[in-house]
Structure formats: structure tokens, C-alpha cells
């Protein structure tokens, strides 16, 4: 009984971590208004700078990581859903639990990548908020300030929520796994 409860708790955390991962990856981190317009998320961006489409090598490099994070989260959700369903209906689900455990270990890798990508995006978008005012032979040219509105996804990746959730997820699942091992050894 204890095994099932711990697994269920771990799977719930896993589901939350995966959904947080998808939200943080897909939804915009920042929305810009002014001479820089558009949005930036980990998985995509659509920015116009002074009316021209903005292309960033760094943001392009982040995209494949974001796609893989989404794929990882989806895979995690599937593994959790299947193993959860099997556990709920009292059926043996060693393989799917093992897959879910592997997915959890992958999430530990993924959360680091998520923070890394968010850091790259944050650094890459800083120059967009620079003061573009300058002086030429014509005089001083002053541009209005570009407004940057951080979105809920930014709040997720700018603090320790995903990391904390992932650690809790990992600890819960590891305890569930260790408990099962103990039961097996004792049995």
C-alpha cells in the first residue's frame, strides 16, 4: 500500500514538473513594445527591431534544446500517465515505472538545461532594451525607451520553482523506488 501511495505522490509531482516545463518553454518569457516589438520564449521568438525582423543566432541555438525539453516533458507525462493508470488499477507496471524513473532522471538533466536556456535568452534580449540614442553630425537622436513586460513563464524560470519541484519529484520517486526495493528484499 505504501509503495502505491509514494508512487502516486511522485507521479503527481512528475506531472506538475512536466507541465511547468512545458509552460516555461512554450509560453513567452518577455513581450516587448516600442521600437522592439514581439515576444521571446525558449521555443520560439518573433521580434521586429526598428521595423525589421530580428534574427538571433543565440535564440536560434536555444530552440532545439527547447524542443527537446518539450519532447522530454511530453514523454514524462505519457510515462507517468501509463504507470499511474496501471498502479491505480492495481496492475503490474514494472516497465512503465522504470521508464518513468528514467524520465525523472532525464528531468534532472533537463531542468539544468532549462535554466541555461533561460539565461541565454535573458542575456540575448538585454541589448534589445539598450538606449539607442546617439549623436551624429545631424545632432542628438533620441529614441523612446522600449518596454519589456516579463510574462508568467519568466517568473517560473527566474526562481527556483522548477528546480525545487524537480528535486521533490526526484526524492519522492527515489524513496518510492527504495521502499519497493526494501519490500522486495524483505519479501
Amino acid at each position: 500500500m505504501e509503495d502505491r501511495r509514494l508512487w502516486t505522490l511522485a507521479l503527481v509531482f512528475g506531472m506538475v514538473v512536466s507541465l511547468v516545463g512545458i509552460v516555461a518553454t512554450v509560453l513567452p518569457l518577455y513581450i516587448f513594445d516600442g521600437n522592439v516589438r514581439g515576444y521571446v520564449s525558449l521555443a520560439s521568438y518573433d521580434l521586429t527591431v526598428f521595423g525589421e525582423k530580428y534574427y538571433s543566432l543565440s535564440l536560434e541555438a536555444v530552440k532545439p534544446f527547447a524542443y527537446l525539453l518539450i519532447a522530454q516533458a511530453v514523454f514524462n507525462i505519457i510515462a507517468i500517465a501509463v504507470s499511474g493508470a496501471k498502479t491505480f488499477f492495481g496492475r503490474k507496471s514494472v516497465v512503465w515505472k522504470a521508464v518513468a524513473f528514467g524520465a525523472m532522471l532525464s528531468t534532472l538533466v533537463g531542468v539544468g538545461i532549462l535554466y541555461g536556456c533561460a539565461h541565454i535568452v535573458s542575456e540575448e534580449t538585454k541589448p534589445l532594451l539598450a538606449d539607442f540614442s546617439h549623436e551624429t553630425s545631424a545632432g542628438k537622436i533620441v529614441f523612446p525607451k522600449t518596454m519589456c513586460y516579463p510574462q508568467p513563464a519568466y517568473l517560473l524560470v527566474s526562481n527556483f520553482i522548477p528546480l525545487a519541484l524537480t528535486i521533490i519529484y526526484a526524492i519522492t520517486m527515489s524513496i518510492a523506488y527504495a521502499f519497493k526495493q526494501n519490500l522486495s528484499t524483505e519479501g
Binding site: 534544446f65 522504470a98 532522471l105 538533466v109 540575448e124 541589448p127 545631424a138 537622436i141
Partner: protein
């Protein structure tokens, strides 16, 4: 198993085709020279040798490496290519070096997960033959983790090496093309060289000098500003001998930018022109501001005394005053006016002994 052999042979043949002179093949792109069209790790499919300017081709001067770049010029024997992300074109290469035209490209985001899934499915299906056994919890979990780490490693390997702030942003700008004074009407013409910014409207305009500061009216046409300086201001500058004025111009530009410009302007003044044409003396004001002049006509009949007839004139810009002295035997005209802070006098003989 036969099907897998066939698929493997087909894939191997596709990649080996590039070592043959045939205009078909499958290539991987490396580097970032074709960004944003193609990324490192994308697969390109080459088919046929017909190409034109604008097409992406594969060319090679060595059997080990190929270049995937866009055609920017074609001569009778050579091809010039350039990477979309490169600042300059490549050296011209012989047409014989061209492997073929790129007809399709598969981004890495599509082929990598698909290929990994296929390999994974193949390994899982043939796990017993391959000696891999997913018969324990730990092995399955390790396999999932390994697959994940492998995918991230692949992406890291394929990613271009980029540092934050690698994408410089160049703000649009405008520089001064020139400031000139219209010699006919005295307008100050301010022309700008646009580098993405155009003057939309003027919000403030003043001129200042030792004469004082005055607000000016203005017009904007095609990004050029025409400042209408009051004529009296120029007239006063001439009287005071002031050669420079400062124009302060505030304007709104495209992209909601604002320009604060300050320019030193040097209007040129000219003295009144006094000329004789037959019996007629002409006094012309060549300036774009009114000039006051004292005109004295000296005339005499035979050996009599000289008579003087003086008048004050206020010659408007471009205005001409004429004096017909055909009825006099001896005459000359003297024009006194202030030119650049000094009173100048010009004297012209009009008639002598009844002749011009």
C-alpha cells in the same frame, strides 16, 4: 531483417553518392555560414546540375569536404557563391566543381528526433540479437536517461558556438548631408542623409546670433527642412557685420525618434550692384533681404556748377532701381549703403559731354 538491410543499404548509398561524380546526394551542413536559411546539422538533398543565381548549390574542390552556399554570380566557366551569413562572397570556382543544386533541406529539429526514434525502435526490436536486455528496472531507467543525454549531447555538438550579445543591433540613424542658404529667398535648407531615419516634422526652430534669437517658420519636404528666416533678421546681421547664425532645430523622426540639431550657418551677403547701361544707371539689390541705400545723382550742364539730387531707397530683395540721366551733359551716380557692418560708396559715371 531483410527490410532493415535494404534500408541500411539505401541510406548508405545515399551518403556514399557524394563521393561519386553523380549529381545526386545527401549532405550534412556544418557551421553557420548559411544562417538563417540553414543551420548546422541540417540535411540537404542535392538533385541535378541545373542552377541559376539565387539557388543554393553544393560545390567541392576536395573529396572530403563540400560547401553549401548560394549562387550570386555565374560566368561562362565559373560560379561565385556566398553564404547567406557571410559578409563577402567566396572565390570563384570552376563549374566542374559544382556537385549539384540543393532541392530540399530537412532541419535538424525534424530529422534528429525521427532518426533517434527509429534507431531506438530498431535497437529495442532487436535487443536480444544485439545482446541488450531490458529485463530490470535499473536497465530500463538507464536506457531512458542515456537516450535523453544522447539527444542533448547531439544538439550541443551541432549548436553553433555563440556568446551572449552575439547579435549586434544597429539602430537606424541620420546624419547631416549639408546646410545651405538659398541665395534667392534666404531660406536655410537642411538636408539629411538617411540611414533608416527620416524627418517627419519640425517641433521647434530658432535662429540666434548677436542680433538676437527669433523663432522661424519651416516646411518639410521629402526629409529636407526649409527654414524661413525673417528677412529683417538678415538685414540686421548685414548692418551689424554678423557673418554667422546658429540654427537650433528640433524634429520628430521616423521610429518615434527625436532630433535635437544645432547648426552654424554662414549666409553670404553681397554689396549693391551699380551698373550703367547707356544713359541709364541701374542699382540692383542681389541679396535676399532689403537694403537701405542713399543714392546721390551729380549732374551738370556744360561748364555750370554741379547739382546734387539725393534720395533714400529701401531696395527689396532682387529689386532694381533705374535712373535715366539722358537729359544731363555730365553726370555720375553715387550709391552709399551698409555692407557687412561698413558703409560703402560706389560711384559710376553715367554721361560725359552728353554721351554715355
Amino acid at each position: 531483417m531483410k527490410a532493415s538491410y535494404l534500408i541500411t543499404a539505401f541510406l548508405a548509398a545515399l551518403f556514399l553518392l557524394k563521393f561519386t561524380p553523380l549529381p545526386f546526394g545527401v549532405y550534412f551542413t556544418l557551421g553557420s555560414s548559411m544562417e538563417p536559411t540553414m543551420h548546422a546539422g541540417d540535411v540537404v538533398i542535392v538533385w541535378g546540375r541545373e542552377y541559376d543565381v539565387g539557388d543554393v548549390i553544393v560545390w567541392s574542390n576536395s573529396p572530403l569536404s563540400c560547401i553549401v552556399h548560394r549562387v550570386v554570380g555565374v560566368t561562362s566557366s565559373q560560379v561565385i557563391t556566398k553564404g547567406d551569413n557571410n559578409p563577402v562572397a567566396d572565390f570563384p570556382v570552376s563549374k566542374d566543381s559544382v556537385r549539384g543544386k540543393v532541392v530540399a533541406h530537412v532541419p535538424r529539429e525534424y530529422w534528429m528526433p525521427a532518426a533517434t526514434a527509429l534507431v531506438g525502435a530498431y535497437v529495442y526490436r532487436n535487443r536480444r540479437k544485439l545482446g541488450i536486455q531490458f529485463n530490470s528496472f535499473e536497465r530500463i531507467a538507464s536506457a531512458v536517461l542515456a537516450a535523453n543525454v544522447l539527444m542533448f549531447s547531439l544538439i550541443i555538438t551541432m549548436s553553433p558556438v555563440v556568446a551572449p550579445h552575439a547579435s549586434p543591433i544597429r539602430a537606424p540613424s541620420a546624419s547631416l548631408y549639408g546646410v545651405a542658404v538659398d541665395k534667392k529667398v534666404g531660406d536655410i535648407i537642411v538636408k539629411y542623409f538617411s540611414e533608416g531615419l527620416e524627418v517627419k516634422n519640425v517641433t521647434g526652430c530658432t535662429v540666434s546670433s548677436s542680433v538676437g534669437r527669433v523663432a522661424c517658420s519651416y516646411d518639410v519636404e521629402n526629409g529636407t527642412v526649409y527654414v524661413h528666416v525673417p528677412r529683417e533678421y538678415y538685414a540686421e546681421m548685414n548692418v551689424r557685420g554678423e557673418g554667422f547664425l546658429t540654427l537650433v532645430l528640433n524634429a520628430t523622426l521616423t521610429h518615434d525618434a527625436v532630433l535635437y540639431g544645432k547648426y552654424l550657418v554662414h549666409p553670404t551677403f553681397a554689396p549693391l550692384s551699380v551698373k550703367k547701361e547707356g544713359y541709364v544707371a541701374h542699382i540692383v539689390n542681389p541679396n535676399f533681404f532689403p537694403v537701405k541705400a542713399n543714392v546721390s545723382v551729380y549732374y551738370a550742364q556744360s561748364s555750370g556748377a554741379w547739382n546734387v539730387n539725393s534720395t533714400e531707397l529701401n531696395l527689396m530683395p532682387g529689386e532694381e532701381a533705374s535712373f535715366n540721366l539722358s537729359s544731363t551733359k555730365f553726370s555720375y551716380i553715387e550709391v552709399k549703403h551698409v555692407f557687412f557692418g561698413k558703409t560703402v560708396a560706389e560711384r559710376v559715371q553715367v554721361t560725359y559731354d552728353g554721351r554715355p
